[in-house]
Structure formats: C-alpha cells, structure tokens
C-alpha cells in the first residue's frame, strides 16, 4: 500500500483560557489516502474545526497552539513550519472551506479579484490568465454566466453561490487535500444536496483527498469512504464507512447512528441528542470521557482512558473497553 497523502500523529492543540489550559484536540492520529474522502463527525465543540485548522497552521495563536504531534502531508512535515513556509502550503497543497459562506469572503472586493489574488499567489500567471482560469472554475462549480458573476461583490450572491465561489477558489490551485468544514450546514436543504454533489464530483475529477467535517451521518454514508468519530477532543472510533454503519463499535457511534433520520430530505442541523452532556474540558475525568453517558459503562471504564486500538478484520479502530 502506498504511503498515505496525509498522516497525522499524536496531534495536540491547546488553548490557554482565563480558567486554564483547554486541550481542544488531544492525541489525535489518522491518515488520509490519496483521492480518499474521510468524514469527521462529532458533537459541537468536540474539536473538529480545530483539527481542520491545525492542518493549515491556522489555529489562532495566541490563545491556541499546536502543543505536539506531527502532520505529514505528501512527505512534508508541516508541524513547526514558519509563517512563510506555511503560506506556500496553504491554498496550494491544502485548502479549506468554511462553514459560513456569508462572511467568508471579503465584502469590499469583487469575487473575481479575490479569486485572481489566490491564483496569482501560487502560480506565475498574468492577471488575464488568472481571470480566465477563475471564470473556468466558476463554470465548473455550476455558477451560471460566470463571466458576469465574477464582476459581482459577495453580497450580490446567494449563500449557495458564495459557497460555490469558495469551492471554486479552493479548487483553483489544485490542492492535494481539501478540508471542508461543514460546507453545507448554513445552506437550505435543496442547495445543500446540490453543493455537496458538486463538491464530491469535482473532488473525484481532481483526484483530490478530502476531509469532510459534518454533523450529518447521512452525508458521511453518501460521500465518504472512511469516517472518524470525535468525542471531547479525542478520536473514539475510526472505520471504513460500510463497516462503521454495519457495525458501530463505540457506544457513542451507536447512539449517533440510532437516530439518523430515515427520510433523505429530513436533514438535521445538529447531531442527534444523546442523554447527558460532554465533560467540561477544564475538568476531564480520569477514565473514559463518555462514561457518564454510556449505557454499557463498567467500573473499570472510569479508571483510565481507553486507547484507540485496532479491532476486527477491517481497518477499524475503537477507543472503548467494551466495544460491540
């Protein structure tokens, strides 16, 4: 098997707050193969966005910092890069799309200018060539009359259109990896489906890898080959999607799957509710962080944290003492 495109090992991201140090990402390891789409799911605040930001060196510093761990992308170690080296990685090797398309673009410049800036940042091309490339990308993501749209300001576009512009911008420099942080959550239901389909189609066309952060297990089932479930800053389960849906090993994953809406259109903005709450990141328990909400909890679950360990024949891992 060839070396994976992205290999993250023992990643730790910490934020220093007034109340103390919060580990938003705690010892996270995973890999993404070339051309693969990996889903990243978990409750609000479990560290998905911070994990994504860390891959681009965008953790706000201060208060945050990459405390330890390694991020290897395409053979290059990214952890510890200086600012100017990061700049040649961002956009060109790994790009990110954010959740909120309404505010993600600069309101005072035309979208064309913003796309041209990005293109010319990473390629030695003239403005004219960049403009042509931008128009072509806009057409690719399904924006009608792209040569007119390129003249418009972000506020003149709908949310769906803006997110398409973001996708076009992200794909324009052909990055190896795309991190999509809940790219469709802010859109209405029909637009969600369209934008997502477009994204997956283009990802395949470009042969890009993708980390798709989402709340929606349906989206994972549809678009990802592998999924990671995060809970309170840690990965609790990681498995091929078919495996994960057929046989969720972690009780938390089981809970998530149990409440997927059956009807395709009935999308949910938040993950299904599981009784109880996430532990306070400033006051974490010694043992398994899910113990208080788990229906299979044993006494020894509360003694020490379970490690993420391989399980079964497929390429699955779970961090649980009593996996299914």
């Amino acid at each position: 098997m060839p070396a994976p495109l992205l290999e993250v090992n023992n990643l730790v991201v910490e934020f220093s707050t007034d109340a103390g140090v919060v580990r938003a990402v705690d010892d996270v390891s995973f890999s993404v193969a070339a051309g693969e789409t990996v889903g990243l799911v978990g409750e609000s605040g479990c560290g998905k966005t911070v994990t994504g930001l860390a891959l681009l060196g965008l953790v706000p510093t201060p208060p945050g910092r990459l405390a330890s761990g390694s991020i290897r992308l395409d053979g290059q170690e990214l952890a510890g890069l200086d600012d100017s080296s990061w700049r040649s990685v961002r956009g060109r090797k790994v790009a990110m799309i954010f959740q909120e398309p309404m505010t993600a673009l600069n309101p005072v410049f035309r979208i064309g200018n913003q796309m041209i800036d990005v293109l010319r940042q990473h390629q030695r091309i003239t403005r004219r060539q960049a403009r042509a490339a931008a128009i072509e990308m806009l057409a690719k993501v399904g924006i009608p009359a792209p040569d007119k749209r390129i003249q418009e300001y972000p506020h003149q576009l709908s949310g769906g259109m803006r997110q398409r512009v973001m996708i076009a911008m992200a794909l324009s420099c052909s990055p190896r990896l795309l991190v999509a942080d809940e790219p469709t959550t802010a859109l209405d239901v029909t637009t969600q489906a369209q934008v997502l389909e477009q994204m997956v189609r283009l990802q395949q066309e470009f042969g890009m890898s993708m980390i798709l952060i989402t709340h929606d297990m349906g989206v994972v089932a549809q678009s990802c080959s592998k999924a990671m479930v995060m809970y309170s800053g840690r990965v609790v389960e990681q498995a091929p999607v078919t495996e994960l849906f057929a046989r969720p090993r972690h009780p938390y994953t089981g809970g998530l799957l149990a409440s997927i809406p059956r009807i395709r259109e009935q999308r949910i903005p938040e993950l299904p509710v599981i009784e109880g709450t996430v532990p306070d990141p400033l006051n974490l328990p010694e043992g398994c962080r899910f113990a208080d909400r788990c229906n299979k909890v044993r006494d020894y679950c509360r003694l020490a944290q379970p490690e993420l360990k391989p399980i079964g024949r497929a390429d699955s891992k779970v961090a649980c003492y009593v996996p299914d």
Partner: protein, 321 residues
C-alpha cells in the same frame, strides 16, 4: 447623477432635524437665556424705557412670530447684526470661522492620522509588549486634562523656563512662519489629549476587522500578511473610521475649541459663541445654532457618500438593504 439625486433627497430629509434643533434651541434662548434688556436700558429705567428697549430687541413679539422670522433668516442666511458690537453676523462668521479652522485643523488631522497609525501598530502586535506600551500611553494621555496639557506644553516650549521657542499667546497668520509659530503649541496640546481616545477607538475597530472570517479565509489561501492587512483589514475598517472623522468636522467648524481660543486669546468662532451665550447676543447665537445643525446634516450626507466609496454593499439608491 445618482449621487446628486441622493444628496438632494438626503438634504431634504435633514430639514426636520434642522427644524427640531433650532426650535428647541430657540425656546431655550428666549425663555432661559440671558435678557439683554437691562444691559441696554441703563440705570433706574422707567417702565416705558424698558418697554421701548424690549420692543427694539423684538422681545415683545409672540414666540411663533419670532421663530418664523428665525426660519426666514436661516433660509436667507441673513441673521442681522450682533446686539453687542453691531457687526453683521455674516461678517463675524466670515472673520472667525477661518481662524478656528486654521487653529484646529492641524491638530485634528495629526491626531487622527497618528491615531490610526498607532492603532495599526498596536493591533498588529496585539497582546504583545508594543501593544501594551501604546495602549498604556494612550490611557495616560487620556487621563491628562486639556488644560494641563496646554499649560505643560506652554511651560515646556513657550516660557523662559523652557525652550522659549513660541509666543505665549495670541494669533498671527500674516506669514506661514508666524502661523506655524502660533499654531504649534495649541496643536501639540490637542494631539496630546486626542491621541489616546483616537488610538483606543481605532484599535478596537481594526482588531475587530482582524478577527473577521474573511481574514481567516485569506490566510487559509496563503495570501501574505501585508496584503491581508491592506485589503481585508484596513479597507473594511474605513467605514467606522470615516464616520468618526466626518462627524467631528461640524464641531471644529462651529464650536471651534473654546478652551484653546479663550486660553490663547485667539479670535475664533468658539470665543464668539461663548461671548454670545454669556451676553445673550441672540442674532449670533441663532446663527451658530442653525449652522451647527446644517453642518451635521451635511456631515451625515458626506459620510454616506464616503460609505458608498468604500463599501459596495451600501447603495445610494432608493432601496436600502
């Protein structure tokens, strides 16, 4: 054309504001302001003498009639003559407003330009030593009173105990050199007290723009910091900055700086307004009040037009989003 139509509409919409401000001010002037009668009648006046002076001053006519006359004066921009000096109000304004502008503008421009500059530096290094140093100095500057700053600079620069470089008081604009000599100390004092406030305000604005989503987007695409600073942060900060600057303009034009003008004995509009309030010189007061209101309407219009220049989301058309 769009701008012209918009300006016209906006100015018309400003009429109620001018009416409201002038009505309230005039009420206060007439019923609560000083009465000039007793100054003019002399000692031991008879009832007839008093009545005569009052009718000369127009005090005996009904309020509505007098307010209507005021409105007519505003429209024709003819406020008659000062009751104290008999000089025509228009000539008083023409004489004093340029003085106030020349006195206040250098400090105003420097105070804002330096404020933006320091704010940019502080915001760029926010949380760091440079930031703390700048904001600490700003806090110190803010807590020094205007008068203390004036006296301090005077002792430092104008007195025999200090450098003795500039005249202690007075005003002279006959040559550029004379102007610079007279304007330096007031300007330094103004900048000293304004800079703290300006820096704090502008830093808050810039820091807010620095944390916007689109700044993160630009970073996520490898755009270099200098470009982000200019295109994402500075450009988006322009709206609040322009607002603050433009809205300070009526204050400099009309109220001038009373403290500066009276302290240095400079014949500007601030001094004239102050004297008019003390003596109840109604023609001058009426002119100052009306002009201030009108200038605020114009400033509002100017800010809107500036918005349009920096922010494409603002449309001057009928439909406001």
């Amino acid at each position: 054309m769009e701008v012209l139509l918009y300006s016209l509409r906006k100015l018309l919409a400003g009429i109620p504001l001018v009416l409201g401000v002038t009505l309230i001010s005039f009420l206060l002037i007439v019923y609560f302001g000083p009465d000039k009668t007793y100054e003019l009648v002399g000692k031991n006046p008879t009832a007839e003498q008093i009545a005569e002076v009052r009718s000369q001053l127009g005090y005996d006519r009904p309020f509505v009639t007098r307010y209507m006359e005021y409105l007519r004066e505003i429209v024709t921009l003819d406020f008659g003559s000062s009751e104290s000096t008999d000089e025509k109000v228009s000539s008083i304004l023409a004489r004093t407003i340029p003085v106030s502008l020349l006195l206040a503008l250098p400090g105003f421009i420097l105070g804002n330009a330096l404020g933006v500059l320091l704010a940019l530096v502080a915001a760029y290094f926010r949380g760091g030593l440079v930031d703390k140093l700048i904001m600490g100095s700003a806090a110190v500057g803010m807590s020094v009173s205007y008068l203390i700053a004036i006296i301090g600079f005077q002792i430092l620069l104008s007195s025999a105990d200090g450098l003795d470089l500039f005249p202690v008081r007075g005003w002279d604009t006959s040559t550029p050199l004379a102007y610079i000599q007279h304007v330096t100390v007031p300007t330094l004092a103004t900048v000293f007290v304004a800079l703290g406030y300006n820096t704090r305000f502008y830093r808050a604005v810039i820091v807010e723009e620095m944390t916007r989503d689109h700044v993160r987007t630009a970073r996520a695409f490898g755009i270099p910091p200098a470009k982000i600073f200019y295109r994402n942060i500075l450009k988006n900060s322009m709206v609040p900055i322009v607002t603050r600057v433009v809205f300070s303009i009526p204050l400099i034009v009309i109220s001038g700086s009373l403290l500066l003008e009276s302290y240095f004995g400079i014949p500007g509009i601030g001094k004239v307004s102050y004297d008019a309030i003390i003596t109840g010189d109604q023609p001058v007061l009426k002119a100052v009040v009306a002009l201030t209101a009108i200038l605020f309407v114009v400033a509002q219009l100017l800010t809107d037009i500036c918005y349009r220049l920096v922010d494409p989301r603002v449309s001057l058309g009928a439909s406001t989003r």
